[in-house]
Homo-oligomer: 122 residues x 2
DNA sequence: GTCGTTGCAAAGCGTTTGCAGCCTA
DNA sequence: TAGGCTGCAAACGCTTTGCAACGAC
């Protein structure tokens, strides 16, 4: 049976307060803010379990380690600034991606990553 | 000045003959077929240089190591079958992705990954 | 008290780098 | 012959795992 330890509470809370997807290391740093002496291995194990439970969503950015964000934000995609490396959420979706697939293929989901300059770096 | 060694010829040739994006390890295995005793480090160094030269394009699939394909195929994206794991090319693009970005952001490029079932696995 | 969870350290794995020798131009 | 290129092995960074101690229920 699943247990509610102070580490998991801190990790989950860090993700809930995050304004953008976090890497495991970032999760660790933020979680340590409210419950110190958490190990990185614990973060990885908690992230795995949260993902299995559908509590968080993995966000993959080419070249970077995986990031995670709280699920239930609705359908959206991401924008990475090529100068500062930050990742932002972008609402909405171009839609109609099914027609891109070859005949006979079934599209179940998709990921879109925009790359460019954020307002600050521009 | 750039040199044409037998290793680079083999690596490049492997990519040119590939019917899909290859991982560095796959490149190594195919290149060894025509010029043995190539080291994995050489493959990585050649891929880096080829990418800088715009000769090849990196393809990032969440969870997998980077793959590379010959450039010059025109703008396209990729489809991964969630059952067999194969990666296919899909031509075209939904276009008009710039409007998704927040005001003040500049979109320079994008990547789209479709996930679903290929014709065979369906 | 049970047994899921944790921290640490070691192991894994893909990728990069230092270096001495090799080989293309 | 010069200096870019190579193979090897060590180093690296991120992630996973083994294990004994811990602590939620």
């Amino acid at each position: 049976m699943e247990r509610n330890t102070r580490q998991r509470v801190a990790i989950r809370s860090a993700l809930e307060r995050a304004e953008r997807p976090l890497t495991p290391r970032e999760v660790l740093e933020r979680a340590q803010g409210e419950a110190d002496s958490i190990g990185i291995a614990t973060v990885y194990r908690a992230l795995q379990r949260f993902e299995e439970q559908g509590l968080i969503i993995p966000v993959h950015i080419p070249g970077d380690p995986a990031r995670y964000e709280i699920a239930g934000k609705g359908h959206h995609h991401h924008f990475r600034c090529r100068l500062c490396g930050r990742v932002f959420e972008v609402a909405g979706c171009s839609g109609n991606l099914e027609r891109l697939a070859p005949p006979g293929f079934k599209v179940e989901s998709h990921e879109i990553l925009l790359v460019g300059l954020c307002a600050k770096c521009r």
